[in-house]
Amino acid sequence: MTHQSILAWNRYHYLGWFAGVVGASIAIFVSQFDSPLPPNGGTWQGYTLGTIGAVLIVWLTLLGIRKRSYRSRLGTVEGWTSAHVYLGTAVLIISLLHCAAQLASLNVHTMTFWLMLIVVCSGFYGLYVYLHVPESMSENLGGKYLAHWMSELVDVDRKLAELAVSAQAGWRAEILSALDGTSIGGDRRTQLFRRDHSTMYSAEAGKVISNRDQAAIINTLSRRIPQAHTDEQQSALLNKAFSLFGNRQLLLRRIRKDMQYKAVLKVWLYLHIPFTVSLLVALFVHIFVIFFYW
């Protein structure tokens, strides 16, 4: 089964809906040009466009319910998502037509539009990452699951810990501290920007230093290898540790990159969902106020 973009779902089924809804909305808007009054949200055309927009906004939020309703037979989640994208974009145009772009002042009515703009624009970003990031993720993981690379990392760490037992006290501490001080995730910024707070103990410096991208331990080992040429066993162990940390560096890069991709796929939801909730409140207040002070 070939992968199909949600935009192209069912032969661009909802692109047709988008064109139909937007086309009808533009026709309704243009019909105001015959009126002595300027286009605005208070004409029958304005009320019609506002009603269409409000109904669409409420329906768009139902995607959150539909995608959790695993037993629902009301269309497929993929179809709903495709419609969500196209009709969400249509809402942006319908809202502009509804208010005739009278957005210069700041009040609860214009705020409803700006909140919707934030929701739609964050949705555009979400759509972009959902269309492009999975391919990069797959490429980064080399067609394997993350668990495979995690397992490889655990294996490398185990080998290094075993190797450390036979190492001399000086660099054994460095290896063990580098293993212990490696950090991958953390808070959201760390995940999103792939920050590396890894540390290691440096016997030379006598203190804990940064081991970002495992560079410090690899540099330390590379300096120790020539110094240990008289001790064959230690030299062999150092070479092995050097090789394992090189492998570990690549594994950690791959895992952090995957973590970053997952963060990128989620971060927009921190705007999209809370602002959708606030949009619903603003929409309710907007409609209430319009009729309260008709």
């Binding site: 210069a104 760490d157 054994r172 501490a173 063990l176 212990d180 959201r188 995940q191 804990v208």
Partner: protein, 547 residues
């Protein structure tokens, strides 16, 4: 007193056990300290605090006991603490007085298990932010403004920071500057007097109580104006402001076709050569045969080349002569009279002043009648009073001068004034020799049109080339050909083509809206306060319409 330090996992057995004869010792990276915990970057002092107790004190770092961090702690035999990636167990040694510390390297926890890698579970979740924004929005956009509308906001009457939302945040847009005034701009209910209902006309008329309807509302035409609300044309809170609706469609909606109920109303579209009717001049028509109160009748008619309209003011006035510097000079300075020497123009409203004998003519055309007494003038406006003045003056003179024949002089001067050079200079005078002296001459009454286009407003000041009032006549003459007019009967009003030179909706010229010239609420019309009071009784009106 002896400490035994046991290190597990050592390849060299000689490194596995260290004996120390002292009351205390230190572990750390410094050369004088024991390096039993490689990787530790601070000092840890271990001191005996009793037979079975130790006091652990760190300098620059910390250690952990049962997961809790400490800088200093007394521990008993059997306890353990963690420092760096080592666990140190306190046990009894081979001798009762010995205390043994077993140093064990911790298992290395895989890095991927130590840190959070799930984005949505790191920190506050989406649901938290959603709830937070929900309550903030509900409070800021609804509850606080709503309480403000009830004057029940917790901050009512207090000087609150401008960031606290008030009912003004519910305003759909800025008010027109005319409405940004005390009592309106911060008081929604000044106009929105009824919630969940449209703004009633009475809300507008509460202030605009002097306004007139578009026409005189009669029983015959009232149904055609019924149902028109102020808000049909005047919309507030628009961007840009649209309180004054200058869209020609407002007018063309009705006037774009012949109105069956007002057949005299011309069909008009936007201001262009084709869509707008030719201008009709309003003239006072003199009807000498009519009664006094009907002697003058206002008529509107076209001033077409084949049927030129004629002014019937009954005045003689050659504009060209008065503007010819070779014949007439204002101040003997070589220049002729300028238009504004007689027709003063209001600097703000652009209205042209009314011409009168006293104000504009008599400085040159003084009604003197006795060269011996040049200060003495005839009263203007009444033939009888003029003759009475002469009669009185000449008979008084005769009493003083024995040779003066008052009667002869009275008759000759009266004939001279009425027929030769006095009244007759500016007026049409009819003589009936059969009548006695007091009724022999009759000066035709004068009525000068003050507004030839009363249906349109025109600000002369705004149309002058220079700001304010120009003393030059050129800007006046560009529309009014007064310098070529020798007859007061000439109509000197510009025609539609003159206006189209600048204002033409086909070209998108300036000020081409209907209300640029025509006032919607005229000075004469049915008072809105009265008419709309009746319209509020919609039920009754609906019955009328149905009938």
């Amino acid at each position: 007193m002896r400490f035994l330090i046991k290190k597990t996992g050592q390849t060299d057995p000689s490194d596995a056990l260290i004996e120390i004869e002292a009351q205390s010792f230190a572990i750390g990276p410094k050369s004088e300290h024991l390096d039993v915990c490689p990787g530790l970057d601070f000092d840890l002092t271990i001191r005996r605090a009793g037979s079975d107790r130790l006091k652990i004190k760190s300098k620059g770092g910390g250690f952990f006991v049962a997961g809790r961090a400490f800088k200093s702690r007394v521990l008993d035999i059997g306890d353990a603490f963690q420092v760096g990636f080592y666990t140190l167990h306190i046990t009894r040694g081979t001798l009762p007085s010995d205390l043994c510390i077993e140093v064990t390297q911790n298992e290395i926890t895989p890095a991927c298990e130590r840190s959070a890698m799930n984005f949505t579970q790191a920190g506050l979740r989406i649901r938290f932010w959603s709830y937070l924004l929900f309550f903030l929005m509900l409070l800021g956009t609804f509850l606080l403004p709503f309480l403000d509308t009830l004057d029940a906001a917790p901050y009512s009457g207090l000087a609150v920071p401008s960031l606290v939302p008030t009912a003004s945040s519910w305003s759909a847009g800025p008010l027109h500057s005319a409405h940004v005034t005390a009592g309106i701009d911060n008081n929604c209910t000044a106009c929105h007097s009824e919630v969940f209902d449209v703004i009633p006309d009475t809300a507008c008329l509460a202030c605009h109580d002097q306004l007139n309807e578009h026409a005189v509302i009669t029983a015959a035409n009232k149904t055609h104006f019924a149902g028109m609300a102020c808000t049909d044309c005047h919309i507030e809170h628009m961007e840009p402001s649209h309180l004054v609706n200058n869209n020609p469609k407002v007018c063309v909606d009705c006037h774009g076709a012949l109105l069956s109920w007002a057949p005299d109303m011309p069909v008009a579209g936007r201001f262009s050569a084709l869509d707008h009717p030719e201008f009709k001049v309003s003239l006072w028509q003199y009807r000498p045969e009519a009664e006094n109160n009907a002697m003058w009748q206002l008529v509107k008619r076209l001033d077409a080349p084949d049927q030129p309209a004629v002014e019937q003011s009954n005045l003689k006035f050659p504009h060209d002569t008065h503007m010819d510097a070779s014949k007439m000079q204002a101040d003997n300075n070589g220049s002729g009279l300028a238009c504004v020497d007689c027709h003063q123009i209001g600097a703000v409203d652009g209205e042209v002043s009314v011409i009168s004998m006293e104000k504009n003519c008599q400085s040159c055309h003084a009604l003197t009648y006795d060269l011996d007494d040049p200060e003495r003038v005839l009263p203007h406006g009444s033939e009888r009073q003029a003759i009475a003045e002469m009669e009185s003056h000449f008979y008084r003179k005769a009493r003083e001068l024995s040779f003066f024949d008052a009667r002869e002089r009275l008759y000759s001067e009266a004939a001279h004034q009425f027929s030769d050079s006095g009244c007759v200079t500016c007026h049409w005078v009819e003589e009936n020799p059969a009548m006695p002296l007091q009724e022999r001459w009759r000066v035709a009454p004068v009525r000068i049109s003050q507004d030839w286009y009363p249906a349109a407003s025109f600000n002369h000041a705004a149309h002058m080339n220079t700001p304010g009032i120009s003393s030059e006549s050129s800007s006046c003459l560009s529309c009014h050909g007064a310098d070529k007019s020798h007859d007061a009967r000439d109509i000197l009003m510009p025609k539609k083509e003159t206006c189209l030179g600048c204002h033409n909706s086909e070209r998108g010229g300036s000020a081409d809206a209907c209300i640029s010239c025509h006032v919607f609420h005229p000075a004469k019309g049915s008072p809105s306060l009265e008419v709309r009071g009746h319209w509020l009784e919609r039920a009754e009106l609906d019955v009328d319409v149905a009938q």
